[in-house]
């Protein structure tokens, strides 16, 4: 059905364009949002959405249609492109690429997830039941699962079909004034990930440590995968060609091949990892995707491109289209050699920050930012967890922070939540001389 819709729309588009592409997506999603240890709302979405790309004499149009009348909307759009012919060709004008293969499929389906979407009672219990084993006052969070089915067709003859299931969630557990939070993401139902999410959130909320005073300043920090994934999401976004072009990236000042981080840091874009929800074997231009380093051993290896941004820089696409802007698919940071316990034991003075939010930049070009810690923020003294502090900030520079990475753990966690858009698999990371501030 969606293939027919895609064909019909592409036919409309090709009549009045030099290059065109269409993506038709069917989604069926269920989400349970929890607050005060009960569902606060249960939400469902079932719909078909359409995204169009038109290149008419070098002018580029991209449209998202989430409506009941996509064909009419498409015709309206085509009519408007008549009026818009007076504008000059796009600075990113380039033809859609000739496909390396005309048909491609990317199918990652877990039947258990499809079954669960039909059984809301069961989904609710998936999170609710394990929380009952912990001595917490209450929990909040969400569990979301569903499937997407997409067809991409381009006027160059490419047809790609994508089917993916996904499940992600997060829990924030409360015990008095203490709290803990953890998240996970996956393409398949995985009880271990759910168990870890509940366990970590509840363990952090029930730490029997006293609140202590902290002197702000430079210190070693261990960032949990919740925090590290948030910062990595920002860095990866700044590695796209359009972020650099629009003045939203500290990488504006660097070139590929330059050392920009500690050699301990290797960051990869991993579209082919089937456990991560944005997995795909082809991008929106029909180009085969591949796993690639963005930063490897501290060296900037890749700026993420689609065909258009690549042409401007005389480079090759990296299979990260986005018709207008390239984007990472899924991200992974290479593991280190330590266990978390060892990392803590080797820290004389430092802070373990288990969660954060509200990362904002003062200056994208220099990478000046701050982010606010939340939930368990644990003081480490002489290799031991020694106390808790409230809501500190890390206020620093991205280039400095990634240069000061000292070690990473062996264990990694797949994270996606309210503060992390792109699925990221990351370890704990230890960073020296991070600048920590307090409002008081």
């Amino acid at each position: 059905m969606i293939r027919e819709t895609a064909e019909k729309i592409l036919n409309e588009l090709t009549r009045k364009s030099d290059d065109a592409a269409v993506k038709v997506t069917n989604v069926g999603i269920s989400m349970i949002k929890y607050a005060n240890s009960q569902p606060s709302v249960i939400q469902n979405w079932t719909k078909t959405t359409i995204t169009l790309y038109i290149n008419r004499e070098g002018r580029i149009y991209v449209t998202d249609i989430d409506s009941a009348s996509p064909i009419d909307n498409t015709r309206d759009l085509l009519e408007k492109t008549e009026t818009y012919r007076i504008m000059e060709p796009s600075m990113y004008n380039a033809p859609l690429p000739q496909p390396e293969t005309t048909e491609a499929k990317s199918i990652v389906i877990d039947k258990k997830i499809i079954e669960l979407t039909q059984d809301l009672d069961k989904i609710m219990g998936v999170v609710y039941q394990p929380t009952q084993n912990y001595d917490i006052d209450r929990f909040a969070g969400k569990i979301e699962l569903g499937q997407t089915h997409s067809i991409i067709m381009t006027s160059k003859g490419f047809v790609g079909e994508e089917k993916t299931t996904f499940i992600d969630g997060y829990i924030r557990a409360f015990k008095g004034e203490r709290s803990g939070q953890w998240a996970f993401t996956s393409t398949s139902y995985n009880e271990e990930l759910i168990k870890t999410m509940v366990e970590r959130a509840c363990d952090y909320a029930t730490l029997k440590l006293p609140y202590v005073k902290l002197d702000p300043g430079k210190t070693s920090v261990i960032l949990s995968p919740m925090v590290f994934s948030n910062l990595i999401d920002y860095i990866a976004d700044m590695s796209t060609a359009t972020s650099i072009d629009m003045g939203f990236s500290f990488l504006l000042k660097y070139n590929k091949g330059q050392k920009i981080a500690s050699e301990k840091l290797s960051l990869y874009d991993i579209p082919l990892d089937k456990e991560m929800p944005y997995t795909t074997t082809f991008d929106d231009e029909g180009i085969k995707t591949y796993n690639k380093p963005i930063i490897e051993n501290g060296v900037l290896k890749t700026i993420l491109h689609n065909t258009k941004t690549a042409v401007r820089r005389n480079e090759k696409t990296t299979g990260n289209a986005g018709w207008l802007s390239p984007h990472p698919w899924n991200l992974e940071v290479k593991e280190g050699e330590q266990k978390l316990d060892e990392m803590i034991k080797e820290t004389k003075n430092g802070i373990l920050i288990t969660n954060n939010w509200y990362t904002r930049l003062q200056n994208y070009i220099e990478g000046d930012f701050s982010t606010v810690g939340r939930d368990a923020i644990i003081i480490i003294k002489n290799g031991e967890l020694a106390g808790l502090v409230h809501r500190i900030r890390i206020a620093d520079k991205f280039p400095k922070l990634i240069n000061n990475i000292e070690e990473l753990t062996r264990e990694k966690y797949p994270i996606q939540w309210w503060e992390v858009d792109t699925p990221v698999r990351v370890p704990f990371v230890k960073i020296k001389e991070a600048n920590v501030t307090l409002p008081e």
Partner: protein, 476 residues
Amino acid sequence: MKIDKETLYYIIDKAREKGADYAEARFHSNKSSTILLRNGNIIGVGMDVTEGVGIRVLVSGSLAFSATNNLDKESLERTLDKAISAARAGSHYNKKPILFSNEKMEKASYSVEVKKDPKERSFEEKIGYLKELWKQVSSSTNKAKVQALFTMYSETIEEKSYVNTEGAEIESHVPRIKLFYNIAVQGTNGEGANRWYEYAASGGLELLEEWNVEEVIVEEARILEKVLEEAKRVPQGKYDVVLGTEVVGLMVHESCGHPTEADRILGREAAQAGESFITKEMIHTRIGSEHVTVIDDPTIPRSNGYYLFDDEGVKARPRYLYNEGIINEFLNNRATAAELNVKSNAAARAMDYNSEPIVRMANTYFKPGEYTLEELIEDVKDGLYVKSYMEWNIDDKRWGQRYVGLEAYRIEHGKITYMVKNPILEFTTKEVYTNTDAVGKNLEFHAGVCGKGEPGQGVPVWFGGPEIRVRKMRMK
């Protein structure tokens, strides 16, 4: 494709038949066209349509929401069935039922007047206007180099048709114009800086004329140049600070609007944007000096957060959140109002048809006082004037906040003496409102998109105020 009201009524009637205690159906259409440019060169044009029906039901004290963009009756009924069965499933886990407050329901229709219809100006003219911005900015600096100007201009129309089982029937039509820019400048020593800002309001092209962006943006580039070439760091310490309208607006949004959202206070957003330092017992207690009054008013004509009825059919009015330093009123929807045993003050908003209505701000502002900016400054011996910011954040209880000044000046003996580089203000909510001792008389609004909810909903808001003077603030 617009849906007829009869279909919406059909859905809520069916909901009643199927056992819902309450039901609402909202046809919600957002249409936008956007032009993107970099350094005066066109990137492309975006034209987006989001249009469908959101259905919300209460069954046995359990709330569920379903949405679809398939508008035939069968599909809508399937969507309703999903909502009802989801609510039933949820009720098995509900220890405390969700209830809605009793409210007066009305039938009404409203729209925003457009003085200059965007259709009256040709596409060529609009492009020409945007290209001119780059022309102006690129030659605006002396020493520093303007590396990039990204501009995004959009015209949107939001239309809603809403009915519920308690007799509300509301139609609305709100057009908006928005202009966003980011300027990146490199100084002579290689250091870079950027400034982004957005103008947005409801109305037509008359807004573009009022905003005067072509002059503002040149000044913005020159300010960045001064920050890079001339601004000096000042020693950390306590200073009297005059906060500009942009900082004041954001501050009241973050540390008055958000913490008075009753759903946060009651824990509904606990795992996302967090909770609040305010507990329900803190109503009518002091948070600041008598100079501090903060109002959230959806009914301000031509505002970005404009509405006359919320997405639960309740009539909007100004909400006095902090009144003369006292926590006066929370932002409530019908569920939080019922839990707190008060009336809803019409704070329920949904971003689009895919989104459940949740408690939101509209246009939040610090109530003006009597001082001119000069008068605020002349009574400062040793201080700072922080006019604009780039970085800001606040903790998830809305207590510890931070703003890093972009355009900021040193005040010495009642006079502005030089530009200060990136002063960092990090303080608590109580501290800043308690230390406020004088309030300016002008009122300026700034536009933004406020994020909240799960899935995240970004709704258009204004935040604003006059300049205010705050004594003895820590500067880092």
